[in-house]
Amino acid sequence: MATGMSIAGRGLARRFGPRWALAGLDVDIAPGELIGLTGPNGSGKSTLLRLLATALRADAGWLKLDGQDAWGERSELRPAIALASHATGLWDDLSAAENLGVWARMSGVAPDVIAQLRRVGLDPDRRDPIRTFSAGMKRRLALARLFLRRPRLALLDEPSTALDVNGRFLVRGLIEELISSGTTVVVATHHREELDGASVRWMALQDGRAA
């Protein structure tokens, strides 16, 4: 069972041009915790997730993951972090299996592509480029990519976007699987009911601060 990553941050701030997307946020998340991140559009949810993923550097404040400086030690931390953002990170010219195979091989993982595709409800025999896929199917594939590695910190940015009812159940199942394996999970969502019944701690953001 993987041990989840601990997160501690103080005064986190990040600016895009003249606008502060995060404006002095404190974060404390225990290993294995499930955090639901809510707030209106533009409140800083995605920016916080990208900071936690070490995709962005904070303009002010500090962030420690497992007690290590998130930006300074990002090369060591990144293999244990998985981010499913709005962008799928997929290549439209490749098939679903090729996309997953490419991601798996780049990290030296033996690709169990067929199992991963079945897991997210996609047909492993489909050979056409994913540019013919619906937005929901691409979202499912992006989620499958997340599970190619065993993350200790999973960051999901509105994972149910574009998904049908079955897809929402799938996301719920994947989150439960992550939690039961000890992974720390942070989910940004506009729909609290998505995490109903789960042992979730909610964090609300407003204008880049804790609401």
Binding site: L56, R78, L83, S85, A87, T88, D92, M106, S107
Partner: protein
């Protein structure tokens, strides 16, 4: 090394799935060669310009190739996902440079016969040395083009910005490649080709090293 092979496989797959990209680059460089031929004042001038025209065509094609190569990774946020995936930035850089070198070499091999035929410039020098010059020249252009492509890809007016930054930087490589090609076409009576090749190798080694060091800083935030 596993990472490098994985990233190289990705580059190969993406190229394989977009065959139109290669043909458009070949037609683009062929168009440059043809236009210069039409604009040339005499056949003698045409012969003298053959080496230079050839490399200008490859350089112009490289800007199109780099634009397209980065666009593919920006479309669905794949570049950020790649940076966050446990793959060294230097590995990403060298895979991209190798892929671009292969693309440019293919374009050069397709454009070469056109130059030999249309510019009435029969090859009198050593074919092996010319091929070595060709591959080294393409590799020399590929490294700075890839690095600058990463810098400009997300900027407004990227297609203008890239040539503005790239062209002055690659003047030494362009000069060495064009001069080396010209002397080889003429049979290299003074034995100058190895010297031009040496300059090209030095330029290529410098930019491959610098690119590997700087690429991480360019694609990372901050």
């Amino acid at each position: 090394m596993t990472g490098l092979f994985g990233v190289l496989r990705r580059e190969a797959l993406l190229e394989w799935r977009r065959p139109g990209r290669w043909s458009s680059l070949v037609f683009f460089s062929a168009a440059v060669v043809l236009l210069v031929a039409f604009a040339s004042p005499s056949e003698a001038a045409l012969r003298e310009q053959a080496g230079g025209t050839f490399w200008v065509a490859i350089l112009l094609a490289s800007t199109r190739a780099v634009d397209q190569a980065w666009q593919v990774d920006l479309e669905n946020g794949a570049l950020e996902a790649l940076v966050l995936w446990p793959v060294e930035p230097a590995v990403l850089f060298y895979a991209k440079v190798l892929a671009l070198t292969a693309t440019l070499t293919t374009v050069a091999l397709a454009t070469g016969p056109l130059i030999l035929g249309m510019y009435d410039a029969p090859l009198r020098g050593d074919v092996g040395t010319l091929l070595l010059l060709l591959v080294t020249g393409c590799a020399g252009l590929a490294a700075p083009a890839t690095l600058l492509g990463a810098m400009t890809a997300q900027a407004r007016g990227a297609s203008v910005l890239l040539p503005l930054l790239l062209f002055p930087l690659v003047v030494p490589a362009l000069l060495a490649a064009a001069k080396g090609t010209s002397v080889l076409l003429e049979g290299d009576p003074m034995g100058q080709a190895p010297a031009w090749l040496g300059i090209l190798v030095t330029f290529t080694a410098l930019h491959w090293s610098l690119g590997g060091l700087l690429f991480g800083r360019i694609v990372e935030d901050g």
